[in-house]
């Protein structure tokens, strides 16, 4: 028995799948009590806190070719769901064509977690809330909440829904790049745009069906693209984002052809802010335009008092981080922006 592991996992059946079909068949047929496990870095701590009632874990790590990364920025790239965050963060082709993705993967937590954690698992991180990511005893003492075992939301008491926070760093990048996610279930394979993988709900946060395994994420060609991911968190390692801003700009003849962006940690899904960036098209943005757009693009951000630091500060920080990401992608000094988070006193 290992010492110090005093917070115990529930007793579980552990199955190592040899193929995607086999994994899909088990999770699809176990009456909802089986879950996929990749690196386990999100799932296992959650299970120790009894956030899911699970009888079986189906591991994807033994599937041949599970961590492959293929393609190049000229043609587009395909990243297997099992590619580790460390692989993604260091891959030369990812770094050159999809810098925001490499940045986001490299900013996840600690080296240990990036060695174990995968891209697929990162897209599926269970939305977080500091009333929910607590031990069973703590949640019991507080009276439980909607997301698990209870019937009210403790953050927004009159709310009929859960506002747990989408906390994945790579999800907004996939959304901003308009990447496609390939899912394989018992009925076959389908592909969806990254944004369509998510729902704006802290509990029912994905359109992935129970039996579906994410097999890969496909990033479109990125020949004339610049991109950036800016992450706000208390500490430079270890911490989940409390605001994340991903921005991708497609250039043509020195001006913006298209620009897209998405936010992490300010809602229950990656929040698409592309519509706020449309006036970048056809211009070479200067810092005033960027500041103007960023100041408006924080509108859909709705942080609540359920993660680190105060939510009004996080709300005010959102535009600063959008500005930083935009400036970064546009080749300006990211930290020398015009906006401040200024609080009303």
């Amino acid at each position: 028995m290992d010492p110090i592991l005093v917070l115990r996992l529930p007793r579980l059946r552990y199955v190592q799948a040899r193929t995607v079909e086999e994994a899909a068949a088990i999770v699809g047929s176990d009456g909802g009590r089986a879950m996929l496990i990749a690196g386990g870095t999100d799932l296992l701590p959650n299970l120790k806190r009894r956030q899911f009632d699970v009888a079986t874990l189906v591991s994807l790590r033994g599937i041949p070719g599970w961590d492959a990364i293929t393609g190049d920025p000229q043609a587009g790239m395909s990243l297997s769901a099992g590619a580790t965050l460390d692989q993604v963060a260091r891959h030369p082709a990812v770094l050159s064509g999809y810098r925001a993705l490499a940045q986001a993967a490299g900013l996840v937590s600690t080296p240990q977690i990036r060695y174990m954690g995968t891209l697929g698992g990162n897209l599926m991180v269970d939305p977080r809330c500091n009333y929910y990511n607590q031990t069973f005893a703590w949640r019991k003492a507080v009276g439980f909440c909607l997301k698990k075992d209870g019937d009210i939301c403790l953050v927004a008491r009159s709310s009929p829904r859960c506002w747990a926070v989408s906390s994945s760093d790579t999800a907004p990048v996939a959304v901003a790049f308009a990447a496609s996610v390939v899912l394989q279930g018992m009925a076959g394979t389908r592909r969806v745009r990254a944004a369509e993988l998510y729902r704006d709900d802290g509990i029912d946060y994905t359109t992935r069906k129970r039996d579906e395994v994410i097999t890969s994420v496909e990033f479109p060609a990125a020949r004339t693209t610049t991109s950036a991911y800016w992450k706000l968190r208390r500490r430079g390692s270890f911490d989940f984002p409390i605001v994340g801003a991903a921005v991708v700009i497609w250039w043509e003849d020195g001006v913006v052809r298209d620009a897209r962006g998405a936010l992490s940690a300010v809602g229950s899904h990656p929040v698409d802010i592309s519509s706020y960036l449309s006036s970048l098209r056809g211009v070479h943005p200067d810092e005033r335009l960027i500041a103007e757009l960023a100041a408006a693009a924080d509108k859909p951000a709705r942080p609540l008092d359920n993660t680190d630091l105060s939510h009004y500060w996080r709300k005010r920080m959102t535009r600063v981080f959008i500005e930083r990401a935009l400036r970064d992608a546009a080749g300006l000094d990211p930290q020398a922006g015009l906006l401040t988070a200024q609080l009303k006193s």
Binding site: A141, V142, R234, Q342
Partner: protein
């Protein structure tokens, strides 16, 4: 050959280092005994509630559950201080914070133990909760937490007429500041293993800083003679004060072992460590001081309100500590201290690195920084005009021996170019400055007695080995090294020749524990005394063989030889053989009792120390005015260590203190919501990682204290103190805002910047202290040297 020191003063690798880095060290949770059971505690889900009924039958019925305990099984109350015997191992009538232990089980594995805990049914009746100082003081709040009032302790002392001194002064200033509570966060969770033998003897291995106090409490609570109880402190994976109390899991593991006849282990989860707490008190403070126009302090009034949590713990001492060391840092001719500790429904607060003094240090150093600006005197100069004198007595009767504060101040100010640079750096950057003092061991024990505070036994063997036995426990600070280095220095042997046995109440003589920065000073002095006695025995025998006077002998490099003719001598082992042949076992003991120097008033027991360490720090901050984030790229810190017995260990303590201080200054806070600890986990309780650690320039100042072992003073706590206010002062110099509230979080900084932008007072912090009737001031006669001023 000279009389120069050969081991003391060297940066040698400490004896436990290899065990730690190679994974061989056995911490309490590493212990596995045959047939061992696993214990778990059921803890209160309510901050304040009466226990109506407990039904354990369903838990007892589970196969694999061997015992279930409730408060009725351990009815004797205890507490670390004799005046605060208010805790029960398992609550009997009332629970006082979420996490207060209520029942316990022992089972054959941890899953069964968990299940059994779930099956215990407790019926609670919730009582109104008190979650802050204000709530604790509000009238008509319903049933108090203990007794008839939530005021745990209130004290009021005055040394000279302060009102006269302040109101008549050329300059006066008042400040109100708040310091939020935080916790120790040791890497090793608390763990204890208990075994009850067929011989009727109980052994407890525990990750504790105070095995002797645990020994006493076990005797009391289990109603067993101490002679049948053995407490062994296992190597601590960090303590910082968090393992210096008596904990429920220790008493419960022992009781479960008695009841089941099988070994029982209880390891706390990280969440439970947050509930065990005994950490930094949240303290609201008001300081009012008078100055001459030259900036010399004429008098000071200091008030503190401590949010104590659910039990007494060390709280009475903590309360006095918030008032005690103002006067050892600055020469204050008249001084008034009023302090009150209130019970609240939170985990009990107690000693954390700096025990009760970082909060007032923050108040005072920020206060002085503001005064310096008002008087147009630079902050360094203002301090230099108020330094305490070496070999003096403070107005509250504390005896100062060596004092290197001036040298510390001059060193950091020069190295950091503080005066030139503090406000002249690129936008957002600035330097802040602060100073401090701290005890080298409390001058009085936790329970009143006249015995030594530290004792060492030493025995040498024919092979030249030296066995050293001492009750001191190494909590990572390096006390094992200090004991070995001192004995080796005196006996002239190598560190490898010393065989240490520590912190085992069956084998080792008393050391009161690893708290209050006392071990180097007190156990070090005891080791030195024991070693000198053994050396005298060896010299006597060697002198006979060498036909010289014992006084002419020297011990060094594993030899005993004539000082004047070094070739004329013998090996250390030969000297042992000669002595043993002459008189049998060669052994001796040494002990250390601090001088009785407490002043002539009630409450004077907190504050006296045989010597005070001094520190000064300059902190550089880099503030992002767009976000309010504050980073610390560099810290300069000078520490008056007396003498560095091992400079590498001292620097390690200084750096650890800086790092811990920055965590408190910028992010750590123990906060509550809906009556619960908001985030009892290492991920969400924000404490800095190695990435946030700044470049630290450490300078050691040696003042060779007359009473310290080889002149040494403390290093474990003092260097934390100046860093926190230096951060606050640096933020002011960088961006012109005052954050009079710890921690300095980005939203607070932004709020203050917004005030500044509007032309209002650029400050965030409390504005008032509660109306509170302190007891009548006890007027204490000042020591004679102060009565002229």
């Amino acid at each position: 050959m000279s009389d120069e020191l050969s081991i003391v003063g060297q940066s040698l690798v400490k004896p436990d280092a290899m065990g730690k880095v190679s994974g061989q060290t056995k911490f309490a949770d590493d212990l596995m005994l045959p047939r061992m059971l696993f214990g778990r505690l059921l803890r209160s889900p309510y901050p304040h509630a009466r226990i109506r009924r407990i039904d354990t039958s369903k838990a007892t019925a589970i196969p694999g559950v061997l015992a279930v305990l409730t408060g009725e099984d351990l009815p004797v109350k205890f507490g670390i201080l004799p005046v605060s015997q208010d805790e029960e191992a398992l609550a009997r009538e009332k629970v006082r914070y979420v996490g207060d232990p209520v029942a316990a089980v022992a089972a054959t594995d941890e899953w069964i133990a968990d299940e059994a805990i779930d099956r215990i049914e407790v019926e609670f009746e919730e009582l109104p909760r008190y979650m802050s100082l204000e709530e604790a003081l509000a009238d008509g709040g319903g049933e108090p937490i203990h007794g008839r009032t939530n005021v745990h302790k209130a004290v009021a002392l005055e040394f000279g007429d302060t009102e006269e001194a302040i109101s008549g002064a050329a300059h006066q200033r008042e400040d109100i500041v708040f310091f939020e509570g935080n916790t120790h966060l040791p890497m090793e969770q608390h763990a204890a293993v208990a075994q009850y033998g067929q011989d009727g003897r109980l052994t407890l291995w525990s990750s504790t800083q105070t095995p002797h106090y645990v020994h006493r409490a076990l005797g009391k609570v289990l109603e067993m003679p101490m002679s049948r109880i053995r407490v062994i402190a296992t190597p601590n994976g960090g303590g910082f004060g968090g393992k210096s109390d008596i904990f429920a899991h220790e008493l419960v593991a022992a009781k479960l072992a008695l009841v089941t006849g099988r070994p029982v282990k209880i390891t706390l989860t990280r969440e439970e460590v947050f509930y065990a707490h005994r950490g930094r008190h949240p303290v609201l403070m008001k300081v009012r001081t008078g100055f001459t126009k030259e900036g010399v302090i004429t008098g000071m009034q200091f008030q503190s309100f401590l949010d104590g949590g659910g039990y007494g713990s060390y709280g009475v001492a903590s309360t006095y500590y918030t008032g005690a060391l103002q006067t050892t840092t600055y020469a204050i001719p008249r001084y008034r201290f009023e302090g009150a500790r209130l019970f609240t429904n939170k985990p009990p607060c107690g000693p954390k690195r700096g025990h009760g003094t970082p909060q007032p240090r923050f108040a005072l150093e920020v206060h002085l920084d503001k005064v310096a600006e008002e008087l147009g005197i630079d902050p360094v100069n203002l301090r230099l005009r108020n330094l305490p004198e070496p070999d003096s007595r403070t107005v509250n009767w504390l005896r100062i021996t060596s004092c290197g504060l001036r040298a510390c101040i001059e060193k950091v100010a020069a190295e950091s170019r503080f005066l030139e640079q503090r406000r002249a750096m690129p936008a957002g950057r600035g330097l802040g400055f602060a100073v401090s003092s701290y005890l080298s061991g409390a001058g009085t024990a936790i329970y009143w007695n006249e015995m030594p505070h530290s004792e060492v036994q030493l025995k040498v063997d024919r092979g030249g080995g030296v066995a050293l036995l001492c009750g001191a426990i190494d909590i990572g600070q390096g006390s094992d090294h200090i004991l070995a280095a001192i004995a080796a220095e005196v006996l002239g042997v190598s560190l490898d020749d010393i065989q240490l046995t520590t912190a085992d109440t069956d084998l080792t003589p008393i050391d009161l524990g690893s708290y209050s920065s006392r071990v180097t000073f007190m156990a070090g002095n005891a080791a030195r005394a024991a070693a000198e006695k053994v050396r005298a025995i060896l010299f006597e025998a060697a002198a006979e063989a060498l036909q010289c006077d014992p006084d002419d002998l020297q011990a060094r490099d594993r030899r005993v030889f004539r000082r004047a003719r070094p070739e004329d001598g013998m090996t250390f082992a030969q000297a042992v053989v000669a002595a043993e042949a002459k008189r049998g076992v060669v052994a001796a003991s040494g002990s250390y009792t601090p001088p009785r120097i407490a002043g002539p008033y009630k409450g004077s027991g907190v504050g006296p120390s045989p010597a005070y360490s001094y520190s000064a720090a300059v902190v550089e901050v880099d503030c992002d005015a767009r976000t309010g984030e504050v980073r610390v790229p560099q810290v300069w810190i000078a520490h008056d260590i007396g003498r560095a017995i091992n400079p590498m260990l001292v620097v390690g303590q200084v750096e650890g203190s800086v790092y811990m201080a920055l965590g408190e200054a910028l992010m750590e806070e123990q906060t509550f919501r809906l009556g619960l600890h908001k985030f009892p986990s290492m991920l969400e309780y924000k404490s800095p990682t190695a990435l946030e650690a700044p470049v630290i320039h450490t300078y050691l100042v040696e003042t060779i204290d007359p009473e310290g072992p080889f002149g040494a003073k403390e290093a474990g706590q003092g260097p934390l103190l100046p860093v926190i206010p230096a951060v606050a002062n640096a933020v002011y110099n960088a961006i012109g805002v005052r954050i009079d509230e710890i921690p300095i979080t980005p939203d607070r900084v932004l709020k203050a910047l917004a005030e500044k932008a509007k032309g209002r007072l650029p400050r965030v912090g409390p504005r008032r202290v509660p109306a509170f009737a302190f007891p009548a001031l006890i007027q204490v006669e000042r020591p004679p040297e102060w009565t002229q001023s």
